[in-house]
Symmetry: D2
Subunit: 302 residues, 4 copies
């Protein structure tokens, strides 16, 4: 296993394509060369390789999984039907046109619109919602996560497109709360910081029917199958289909360069490298995943 | 296994929703009560249940798998990149708007536009193309399939929307041949007749890395992972995401009431029941699949 | 003339189609039978007919003309090119999809998005912007107009779709100010109250190269030709083409039931009747205009 | 008048922007410097200026006026409602997405889809339809027009996008005839050849309530107001609004470089220059029209 990981990193390092996300200064300051991978096997063994494994970075869209999982556990999929659908949209992550034409309900919870819709339904007041998120983060990533307040401030400052989505959701009847409060929760969500092994910890839970690396049940099988299915069809926006062919891993990408990937019954995987393509996916990260899939015969279809 | 199948059928029979496809007379004449299922286990054992298992019906969109598989084997996925992509479209099976706005290349080969694009690249002249299809049918369904000439004639007569798609593809530079010849191949493709066990035979190949129920290698693992991944994200058009959550089976639907489903390494499955929903998917078929997934713990994510 | 007006009203009264706008309570409380018309001839003679001529109602979308005219006079059409285009959009008045797909600049100033974009460019701070509007209202409608504060409050309360548009504009770089301030100006704009003769006064200015009924030059010919052309192609959203065929009057509609229409060099016209069709246009109002066009031979093309 | 025309040409000659249409060889071979204008005053006096006034060029989209006028005269606007609407589409001349999303009926007869829909309703068999067109051409352009058979052959050869539109129309129930026959008529329509004075002759008819330069009534006022209104809102596709602001002339453009423009009660105008912009409009032609509008005070709004 360790050899395969090292070879995968070597293959990834040959590629220097892509750009670091620069819509906010904190993301732009990332180390372009940081590239690593962490794999949890079903028995809880962790393998890692690469540089910067301990570096904490913001979850960005990876965190959409947290609110999805938490609500699936709290209220169940039936109650969530009016809030978000489970269909790939064929559109960009922040498409407003798609929501306006094919709404009123967002296509899936991996889109900004879908995640904002879910944030509006986290129970409690603002403090309780934050506590809810922190609790779920601890359960899902294996330790308490902190918020990068600079990223939060930047997301908030530059979040007009998300505000547009949120007000359209409110106009569509999907948000009852104050839109700014909902967006604050959404911006907090994106701003939690974790490292690659933290993400592999969640990947392990999703790859093993809800058990964390210590063998404790964290979420139900029903939640797992919902989340993993949605990752398979929607996790990388309008690159999801190509990614599934190429790697065979239901995955979720984030613009900070993380990809969280799950090989059901085989492994929970996370990769990190900040150079992303035009869909917001880590280019080296995809190369690593493809290498693992091929050399470990982990493609879900095989 | 047999008990689970019988229970699944019982559950399905409680539902009388949906309508038989009626855009052509031959489909409209189907027996509304015909409901069956066939399952091939990895060792080649076949289980069946329900009525009308021997009844041959037209493949309709199920046949899109044939041209996809055949070309993947013949020319490989790289050569097919200019002909069709592998992304869910978020649109109906016959959307022309989608192709016009997001083309020039069709989003995926499960859409009419994508399958027509592939039909234009089957090697040889018209006779050779038909022979190519017949040969692949025999390999993939386990026996020679016949064409329902009435259905062919009806598809041809009512195929103006497909003609519109085909001329748009030609205008986009994706078809070099005569459009009517290409469409004839496409209409033939839809008009081959098979029964549910025939479809389960193909499902077995896809669920077992390319091996048919007799243990012979029919297609490569590369082809399998391509096809099964595309089925997972695109097989039921803009119902694919919901279907994957619900059943966990990468599947392909057809308006005649078939669903071909694959549980990798576990089973190849086919169901048939002609009452379809507004997306063209067999309603009882989905109930059967959901029942099997749950009671046999076959969801791909678990 | 008076006879033709009376006959037009008679024709209009035979129609009871349409519904009073009810998205806010104040509009829903309108008198369904109120139906009237006012016509200014080039020499400043005013003809009127019908009931409720003195009743003041909110301008709603009619007021989009005010900000357009004011800015054309203040900064000229060249400076406005980055803020709004002059093309019919083929979409609804409040389409967000259109702006997202064909933006970043709104198609025309008769759409909500276009008018909001212009409101963001009224010079000065909030108080100065309101004073600017009041001044232009006085110039264009012939007297000081008051704001209906209940309507303002309702528009503000129910304005989430406009907020969504405004944040999308801000995200597109078209709004530098605080979005809530811009929207307050927009909601004020919609909430000014006028009666039908007030609107005919503005129609006179537009029909006579910028001269008010007293013969004073209020706006330049350049402004007139801009505004009247935009009314011709965009004044009734995706009903503009049909309206121009039918009446031959470049017009602007408002959901309170007003239509302001201009017959260049012939007459300035305004009508009022609150029952509107699905595009937001007064049904009786259109009948009156069509009658005048036909019986006075005022179609612009003849 | 002659001086103004000469000055307009001089202004136009300063601009060398735009490209000659080159999707078919015959258009690509046009003389890039050919630039001229013809104006019919209401009394039938013809003024001309520029080079190549006698050169016959294909009508291209100008000819959409012929089928529209002919059918308005033959069957009247009511009968045509199921065939085509009168609304600007906000889309390109050959948009298929627009028809698929907002159909089934084309938005207006200036679009390819709208003109093809009308061609399907010209009475009689193929020979009678051609005779019908030839008769209307003679009435509207003042003399018999010939077909450029090379252009016809090229249009036919390269017409796949129009075929796609036509089959979508047939699928929508708007074409009962054989699609290829309908398209042949459409391609013939585009291939008739005329010179600028021929076009000014038709412009005179439209500017003078249906009277030709000899004072004979050719079409009804009802037809004129329909056609001129549609030209105003739809004549230059998604450039119509900007053109109306700029020139004040309801116009129709063609990719061969013609613009036919009407100043109601003032003049019928035609211009020709083959360098077109991305919307398919003659750039020098627009400059000439703008010059005339300004210097003769012919803007319809003034």
């Amino acid at each position: 296993m360790q050899t395969v990981l090292e070879e995968a990193l070597e293959a990834a390092h040959k590629n220097n394509d892509g750009k670091i996300a620069n819509y906010i200064p904190e993301l732009a300051a990332a180390d372009a060369e940081l590239t690593n991978v962490a794999v949890f096997e079903p028995d809880g063994t962790l393998y890692t390789a690469g540089s910067g494994l301990e570096v904490k970075q913001t979850l960005q869209s990876i965190a959409k999984l947290v609110v999805l999982i938490g609500l699936l556990e709290d209220v169940g999929p039936q109650a969530m039907i009016p809030w978000v659908r489970s269909e790939p949209s064929g559109s960009d992550f922040h498409s407003i046109a798609r929501l306006d034409q094919f709404g009123p309900v967002p296509s899936n919870p991996m889109l900004n619109s879908g995640a904002i819709s879910l944030c509006a339904h986290i129970p409690g007041n603002a403090e309780q919602q934050l506590a809810w998120l922190e609790n779920w983060n601890k359960q899902l990533f294996g330790e308490h996560l902190n918020i990068n307040t600079k990223v939060f401030a930047s997301e908030r400052r530059t979040g007009d497109r998300n505000r547009s989505l949120a007000y359209l959701l409110k106009s569509n009847g999907l948000i009852e709360r104050d839109v700014n409060e909902v967006l604050d929760i959404y911006f907090y969500l994106c701003s939690f910081e974790a490292n690659t092994p933290n993400l592999a910890y969640l990947a392990h839970i999703l790859a093993n029917g809800g058990l964390n690396p210590k063998g404790e049940t964290i979420v139900s099988k029903q939640t797992v199958l919902n989340v993993v299915s949605i990752m398979a069809t929607c996790g990388l926006y309008n690159e999801s289909g190509t990614h599934l062919v190429r790697t065979g891993f239901p995955s979720k990408s984030g613009v900070s360069g993380f990809i969280l990937a799950t090989a059901p019954r085989r492994a929970g995987i996370a990769v990190s490298s900040p150079r992303i393509n035009r869909k917001g996916t880590s280019i080296r990260g995809q190369i690593i995943l493809e290498h693992l899939s091929k050399h470990l015969n982990w493609h879900f279809a095989l």
